[in-house]
Each structure stands twice: as structure tokens, then as C-alpha cells.
């Protein structure tokens, strides 16, 4: 069903940054959990997994029950266990932080239970009785996967339209390989789709191979989970030189194929978000000795997580704070990055110019928004290119729902999973006569 990945992928060299727990360690850690009442960790989880309950089940070796608790809340619980920034979500909310003790290793425990479930081939859910309703889902990333699985449990027929040949969205093509590699994401996709009754149409571009009007005609509801578009560019001279890439595109090439490092010994990453922090570690991990992150602000202004920056610093990357690139120079291939420092009001400081050598430049300054392709739909509105939805994932146009990065502007996998699931519930409620359209 899903295409085979090359074994010769650059990402294959990475080992897990967070090591999995073996049984005894998992049980010992689970026994530390206090089983809080109305637990803060649950509230911090976008999918509201009953964390104390799944952890308690690990402590009694009821791993099947533990995995069921996780998947009942979040069908992407296996990948979320690996990719969630637990430090700022569940584990960040753990009461042990207030006791000045290490929080429960919730991500690792979740990985323990869900990995065993995958290994054992446990299935927890089956499709509901067919309702005769049909739902189209645009995009096959985490939001659509979470939505489609829930819709199938309700018994609605589903078709996924994916413009690429690879399914799984950013979970397959964008996750830092020391958290999860592409093959693991694809295994999860197969596992989710194994509930059955889902038509997967890859290589189909909505708006080109099938129109929005046709979707509306042929389906009772549509879920938009298209994510984000191409990497943004700086708009400065030299950006088209060889060796200058968008970070997200480069990460994908490295995860699905082999990145060429034959002439790379110095890399510059522009940006201060989590993609920038991922990519500096990835380039460093692939053996580039000299990796520098160029960020226009100070450390405390970064949108990237502090724990990710700490990990990157530990791995020996450099950061040029309050600095921006002004020009890329080179003979066909990039060789130098001309930079300047900024003052407190983000204006260039005269005479602060400096030049960095670089054979590779990765731009991690954001991605374009894809809302525009739905601009022709009356009732669908936009906020800075993101599709607007209400608290149920409803767009405002009857039958049209959306979730994930195309609505939230780019958050975590777990947010997409939560938003896909809630939209599925709203769609089902609408089919059942309830109105979440207000």
C-alpha cells in the first residue's frame, strides 16, 4: 500500500536521542507516578490521554490495557510518544516538577506501551457499521489520519486524497530522525489504515485532478488537512545558488533519500524555531563539523524550545545571536554568507557586518500557508493564510471541516491528531443531526 523506502537514507545513521525503556525500567518509572486526581498531565495533553491510568497499567504489566487507553485518546500515540515535546506538555505539567524531582518520563512510558502493541500486532478498534455517508479527506498527515480513523469507527466511508506518493505528511517527511524515522511513521500509517474501508488516492492533487466542486458533490463532508506549503525564502541576493535550500525540503530529502555531503564541511542554518533546531542537529549528526545557527533575536525570543536548544548546544553547534544574512555569495555554489548584527529594535548595526564560510545553507524561517487554494469556497475564511475553524474544526461552510497545520499555522503532531479527531466527531454529529456549525 505504502511505497517502500530506500535503505540508503541519510536519516538511517541516527540513533534515538531518548532511549526506549526496557520492562523493568518502565515498571519502576510507572511506580513513581502518583496517579494524580484530575491530573495536570492530562490537561496539558492536546489529545487528553488518561496518562495516570495508562501508566498505572504499565506498573501492573497490563500493557495491552495501557496501549488501549493511549490509542483510545490518540490513535497516533505511538509516534506522539516519540515526537511530542513532552518537556513543555505532559511532563512539563507533572507535579514532580514542583517537588524539584524529575517528572515522570511520560513519553518514554507511552512509547513502551505503544511499541509493544505494534510489536504484538494488537488491534483495538474496528470499523462501525456502514452508515452510507462518505467523507473526503485532503492530505494524509496526522490530522487526516486521526480524523479518518475516528470516522471509520463511526462507520462512515472515507477517501484520502494525497498529492504526493508518500503518505503520512510531515510525520513521515519532517520529524527529526533521532526522534522517529520515516519507516516508523509509515508503519503507523498502515496500522491506522488497517481499520479498513479507507480508499487511499495518492498522487491526486485536489483542485487539479479533482475539483472542490466535485468533492462537494461526491462526498457528504470534506476534511482539509493539507498542512503547510513550501519553505519561505529570505528574498536576498544569492538565494538561488547551489547549496541553499529550504529546511523542510532538505529534511525530507535527507529522510527519504540520501543527502549529498561530499563537499560540505560548514553549514549555516537560518532561523530560531524548532525546525531550525532540528536541522542544526541533523546536519551535525550527519557529520558536518561546523554548524552555525543564525538567529535574528536573543535566546529568550526564540520560538524553538529551550530543551531542544540545550540539546543542540550539547552536540556542539554554534549560534550567532541577533544576526541576519544579507547576501549569499559563491561561484555557482554558495561559499560565503554575509551577515550583519541587529540592535534591540532589530535594525542593522552599522559596521557590524561579518562573513561566514558555508557550503550548505538551510533556511528555516517558516513555510507558506496553503489556505489560498480553498479561497473560492464561500463561507471558508482565512487568518494570515490559515483556514479559520471553530472549536469543533468546522470552517463555516456546511460540510467543510479542517484541522492541523493548515489551521493552526504549524504546531505539533499531537495538536493535529487532536484537531483531526475533534473534526471527525463534529462531522459525525452533523450527520446525526446535531449542529456544531454555530
Amino acid at each position: 500500500m505504502t511505497p517502500q523506502l530506500s535503505i540508503e537514507r541519510s536519516e538511517s545513521v541516527f540513533e534515538d536521542f531518548k532511549l526506549p525503556l526496557l520492562r523493568d525500567a518502565a515498571v519502576a518509572e510507572a511506580n513513581r507516578c502518583l496517579f494524580c486526581h484530575d491530573a495536570p498531565c492530562i490537561k496539558a495533553c492536546p489529545t487528553a490521554i488518561d496518562i495516570p491510568q495508562f501508566i498505572r497499567k504499565i506498573s501492573t504489566d497490563n500493557v495491552r490495557g495501557s496501549a488501549r487507553t493511549i490509542f483510545e485518546a490518540n490513535i497516533l500515540g505511538m509516534s506522539c510518544a516519540r515526537v511530542c515535546p513532552v518537556e513543555v506538555l505532559c511532563a512539563g505539567a507533572c507535579v514532580y516538577n514542583d517537588l524539584k524531582q524529575p517528572p515522570i518520563a511520560i513519553g518514554k512510558l507511552q512509547r513502551y506501551a505503544t511499541d509493544i502493541a505494534f510489536e504484538q500486532g494488537w488491534q483495538f478498534f474496528e470499523a462501525g457499521a456502514e452508515t452510507g455517508k462518505r467523507v473526503a479527506l485532503i492530505g494524509s498527515g496526522p490530522a487526516s489520519l486521526a480524523a479518518v480513523h475516528e470516522l471509520r469507527r463511526f462507520g462512515h466511508a472515507c477517501t484520502i486524497f494525497e498529492k504526493r506518493t508518500t503518505v503520512g505528511g510531515l510525520n513521515a517527511t519532517g520529524v527529526a530522525p533521532y526522534k522517529m524515522k520515516a519507516d516508523r511513521a509509515l508503519t503507523e500509517v498502515e496500522w491506522v489504515l488497517s481499520i479498513g474501508g479507507i480508499e487511499l488516492r495518492t498522487g491526486v492533487v485536489v483542485g487539479e485532478h479533482i475539483s472542490l466542486a466535485e468533492l462537494e458533490r461526491d462526498f457528504d463532508a470534506v476534511f482539509i488537512g493539507v498542512g503547510l506549503g513550501a519553505d519561505s525564502a529570505l528574498g536576498i541576493p544569492g538565494e538561488t545558488l547551489h547549496g541553499v535550500h529550504g529546511a523542510v525540503a532538505w529534511i525530507e530529502s535527507m529522510k527519504l533519500g540520501k543527502a549529498d555531503f561530499s563537499r560540505v564541511s560548514r553549514a549555516i542554518v537560518v532561523g530560531g524555531g524548532n525546525t531550525a533546531l532540528d536541522v542544526v542537529r541533523e546536519v551535525r549528526g550527519l557529520g558536518v563539523a561546523n554548524v552555525t545557527m543564525l538567529y535574528r533575536g536573543q535566546r529568550d525570543a526564540m520560538s524553538g524550545y529551550a530543551h531542544e536548544l540545550d540539546a543542540a548546544m550539547t552536540e556542539g553547534i554554534n549560534v550567532e545571536w541577533r544576526s541576519v544574512a544579507t547576501t549569499f555569495r559563491g561561484d555557482a555554489r554558495v561559499q560565503h554568507v554575509h551577515c550583519v548584527r541587529l540592535d534591540d529594535s532589530k535594525r542593522p548595526i552599522a559596521g557590524s557586518d561579518f562573513v561566514l564560510e558555508a557550503d550548505l545553507v538551510l533556511l528555516a524561517i517558516g513555510q507558506s500557508k496553503l489556505g489560498g487554494q480553498f479561497a473560492g469556497l464561500d463561507g471558508v475564511t482565512f487568518d494570515h493564510g490559515c483556514i479559520r475553524v471553530n472549536e469543533h474544526g468546522f470552517t463555516g461552510r456546511p460540510g467543510w471541516y479542517a484541522g492541523g497545520d493548515c489551521t493552526n499555522g504549524g504546531k505539533e503532531v499531537v495538536n493535529a491528531a487532536a484537531e483531526g479527531k475533534r473534526a471527525a466527531h463534529a462531522i459525525h454529529a452533523a450527520f446525526s443531526g446535531a449542529h456544531h456549525d454555530a
Partner: protein
Amino acid sequence: MRKPQTSHASVAAPSLETNTGGIRSPNPFWLASAPPANSGLQIQRAFEAGWGGAVWKTLGVPIQNVSSRFAGHTIRGVQGAGFSNIELITDRPLEVNLREIAETKRLFPRNPIIVSLMVETEAEWREIISKSIDAGADGLELNFGCPHGMCERGMGSAVGQEPMVNERITAWAVKYSTVPVLVKLTPNVGDIIPHGMAAKRGGAHGVSLINTIKSIVAVDIDRLVPIPRVGSLSTNGGYCGSAVKPIALHMVAELARTKEFGLPISGIGGISNWRDAVEFILLGSSTVQICTEVMLRGYGVVEDMVDGLEDYMRTHGFSTIDQMVGKAIPAFSEWGDLDLNYETVAKIDADKCIGCQLCVAACHDGAHQCIHPQEETRVPHVDESECVGCNLCQIVCPVAGCIEMVEVANEHTRASWNDFAARGATLRPKKGAH
């Protein structure tokens, strides 16, 4: 530079020496008659580690042991919270044990060796007592407590459960012994007092208790056989370890507060550290015997026991163990004497609270529904008008000192149930009885 602590230096170090029915020991920590006291080399290593005395693993009739023998009770990852065994008395030749007793006494003359004994007939008792004393025993302990295997042969707890038999055999032992005789009592009885009194009537110089409790510690739920498993069968074991401490403390205290009893007590049952030992001493034990903690962690645990006890004595102004023995007995009373008008409520320290709300769940599901969550702060609110002062919230709270049970004044004077029944004393209004 730090000033020398002259104020402490002027206080004489407390003495840990004890005397239990005439058996003197450099400290109150004895190895109980059990696997850690199975051989001379073991006991010699224990004495080197700091143990005060040892009760040699029971000598008696020839036996054969099974494989396997032990099983542990685990809770929330704590292995050996309780412990069970189906091992019998010594399976080593009598002559070997006697030779090693003599050798150990020669090497450690100051550390008492109490020899545990279990035989059947008067002639057998006479012979084994004589041999034990000849080997150098400082005291004897009559094993009337073992609840598995030996009792099926009319010994161990089969004796301890029959006061008349207990008294008769005790009298034989006392008659033939020139050293103090302790009777080790079984907890597998409804009321410990008649059994302690039987030992006293038989002339014992002291008692030791408790022996192990009849038990099935767990079942192998895959094989459908209880553990410890011997092939396809199991049998009841003797339960001990930390989990039995409350039962042992109660039985020790029951005898200690019985005025006509009055014999010295060597306390046994779940003592794992100096705190446990202090509790046993305060409830009437002059020595304590330890097995399970040594089986789980080795002889080295005694260092903390000795240090901790000494430090406790210093900080509480005790200079001898004798001053401590039974100090908490006057506070061990009948329910009918408790003051019904005494009132406490839970107070939560908001600065210490971490918002786990274990107290909320405990109070709502397991107590009197008077602790309520507060969404904003997550520091729960105690409705003191309904709080019955049960302690449950304090017990579940994971933060030391966060929940305190605070005494609150009311206008009612002391009144127990006995007072109320005798003369209709005024009781405060009930709380939490909604």
C-alpha cells in the same frame, strides 16, 4: 572555621546495652533464628558488622527441606514488602552446629548466642539443652512458633497454640537449663495473652514474639499454583517482613501492658530499621530480632540501626535502653477510653502543595467528602466543618509536612465512650455524618 560542638561532647554517649531475662547484649539488635543465623561463619560476620546477639537457627530433629522455599510480596515496585518461607529448622548436623556455636563464642565472647530449640519428648529436650549449654549458649529460645511443616509433626506452632503444652514443655526446659529460657510465641492465635501467661507459668525468663504468620503470599496466576511453588504444589508459609510489623507491635504491646505478665520481651516482626526498633522498644521490647531485612539487604543494615537508635536516644534524652522500654505503653489504651471530644482537622500548606489532588480523591472516595478541588490554584480546600480528622489525606500526600492534622479547640470537655455510657457525658456534634 567551625566551632567544636562542646555542648554535645559534654553529653555522655547513651548505652545500648540490654538485658533480656538475664541475657546481656552490647546492643538490642539480634539476628532472629532464621537463615541469616544458620552457621558459625555467618554469625561471626554478623558480629563483625555490629550485631549485638544472635539466635541460632533452630536445632532439633532431623529434617529435609524443599526447593523452592521463599516468596516475596511486592507492592508498587517494592519487593519483599512482605516475605514468606516454607523452610524448616536447621538441616545441618547437630554436631556441626554445636561445634560452630563453641567456636563463635570463643571468637565473640561478649555477643550472646541464644540457641533456638525444637524437639518433642522430655528426654530429647533434656539432651539438646545440655548439649547447647555445653557448647556455650548464653540462653535458649523455645521455638513454639513455626507455622509450617514442623507443626504438622506436633511441634512449633502446634505447641504454641496450646497453652497447657506450652507451659509443660517450658517447665521441662527451665528445669534442665542453667541459662535463661525465652519462649518464642506464635501469632497464629486469637489472643496472645494466654500464651504469654502459659510461658510465664512454665517458668520462662522471657518471651520472644512474633514468629511468622500462616500465609499464602501469592499465587502464580499462569501456573495456577500458590508460591513458593514446589513442583506442582505449594503449602502455607510463614509470613514476615515489614508488612507484619503492625501485627507484631500489637501483640508485643498486648503482653507488655498485661500487669500480671511482666516478663522481658524480645520483639520480632518486620523490624527493618532503627525507627521500627525504637517503636518495639517503646512498646515493651528490651531487644529486637531481625531476619527479613538482613535476608533482603545483608548484615550491613545494622550500622544504621545502631547509629539511628543512638541518635534517637541522644535527642530524646535517654541514656539507657531500659529507660525506653515500654515508655509508650501507658498511651496504649482501649477504644472506650478515647476522648470523643478531641478534634483535629486537616490543614494544607499551600506553599508546599504540588496540586496532585491525591487528597481530593482519597477524601471523596475513601473518607468523608470534605476536601474540594479548586480549579484556579489546584490547592484543595478543606471544609473544616465536615472534616472528621481521619488522617487519610495526610497519609496519601506525597509531600512531607504539606498536610498537618491540627488540633482545634471546642467547648466540650473530655468525654470517652465509657464516660458517656457511665454517666451520659456531653459529646460534641458529629462531623462528616452527612
